[in-house]
Amino acid sequence: MKTWKEVPPGAVITEPGSSRKFKTGSWRAFRPKWIPENCIQCLFCWIYCPDMSVKVKDGKRTEFDYDYCKGCGICALECPGKKGNKAIVMEEEGK
């Protein structure tokens, strides 16, 4: 931890991308679970995620990034799934 003599003036962050070091995933009380067989690859989850915790590779949705996912549940709410079966469900952490 920095002392008062070491903190940068005005709390300005001069290191680009340093928010990567701050793993907000530890805030999570509920964990989104991806069910690939119900997924239609619409990428709504990717668009709606207020973080960047839905990873996309080659235009396809892949696993969640649990280092940063705060468990807000927006992706699960927006997910249309397949034939009424959600491709994202929220599960309580630690259960």
């Binding site: 931890m1 920095k2 002392t3 008062w4 003599k5 070491e6 903190v7 003036p9 005005g10 709390a11 300005v12 962050i13 001069t14 680009p16």
Partner: protein, 393 residues
Amino acid sequence: MHRKVAANGNEAIANAMRIANPDVCGAYPITPATEIMQRFTTFVSNGKVKTEMVLAESEHSAMSACIGAAAAGGRVATATSSQGMALMWEMLFIASGLRLPIVMGMANRALSAPINIHGDHSDGMGARDCGWIHLYCENAQEAFDNMLMAFKLAEHMDVRLPVMVGMDGFITSHAIQTMEWIDDETAANFIGEYKSTNPLLDIKNPVSYGPLILADLYMEYRKAQEHVMSGVPKVVLDIAKEFEQISGRKYGLFEEYRLDDAEVAIVVMSSAAGTTKEIIDQFREKGIKVGLLKPRLFRPFPYAEVGEALKHLKAVAVLDRADCFGGSHGPLYVDIASALYNYAQRPVLINKIFGLGGRDYMPDHAEYVINELLQITKDGKVKSVKEYIGVRE
């Protein structure tokens, strides 16, 4: 070439801003500071400055625009008064916490309610603890000089803090006085080129402003800010010395008028100091040893220096042009009392509240206060520590 002119305080501040040529100016009009921006926007329209004017929808937005522009890396200035200052209040702390060297002219005016457009210090005093540097001016000349010095002070690499420059609304902002300009080139060279620190617009070196700082680090940032503030008086004096070279005018942290050998003294800020000096001269002619201390740098308050300057006196009256409702005394009194408390031998201190809402401060008020101080030195009796003067009983 130094030109003697007839000008008012608003004109003085507007011209100092013209010389500083800010990159951005976010503003919203309010009496009695309106004329500052009115004159300044004329300079913008006439191409005398290259400033980008942001005419905001409120003072809160005006200060927000100033903050954004300063973080972006520009020299930034604005002006306000009274309710405008009150509406900016939230943003004032953000400007100082982010260490943005914004310069603001302030025509000090009373606060509502009841609504009143005239001069007193309620606005500045309300913002005294917001982390800005405060300079107060007696007249238009000081308003011009302090505003020029304010840019250099705010932008100094050891400071990087916002500065507000206060003068009495109407009394100084609108009354035409004799003053002296400093030619543009000399004054502009004195202020110097603007150097930005961590500009947001430097896209090769991306930075973030305004992160969340919680209990694990907030105190360290506050202590760091307090530390920077404590170094301000030295820079104020260095800049004043440099300013004397171009103007011939001397400035300190405060002005001492016939104080050295005085036995009693008045402490008063801004325009009322002029009237007080006049009366002090009259007492001096009768051989009565009276003096004056006029604070200039009000924040950070130079406690040690003020204490040293006042400790030898027998009795001191602190005149406040604002009151603290529910607090025991006026804001200036509280600071003077703090400056003197640790001396074993210290003057008797009394507090007068005067001039609220533009009520005239008359020569006989100064006379009344000095006579009371003299009576205290004779019989040691204090009839009341705090009193409103110039009020109908």
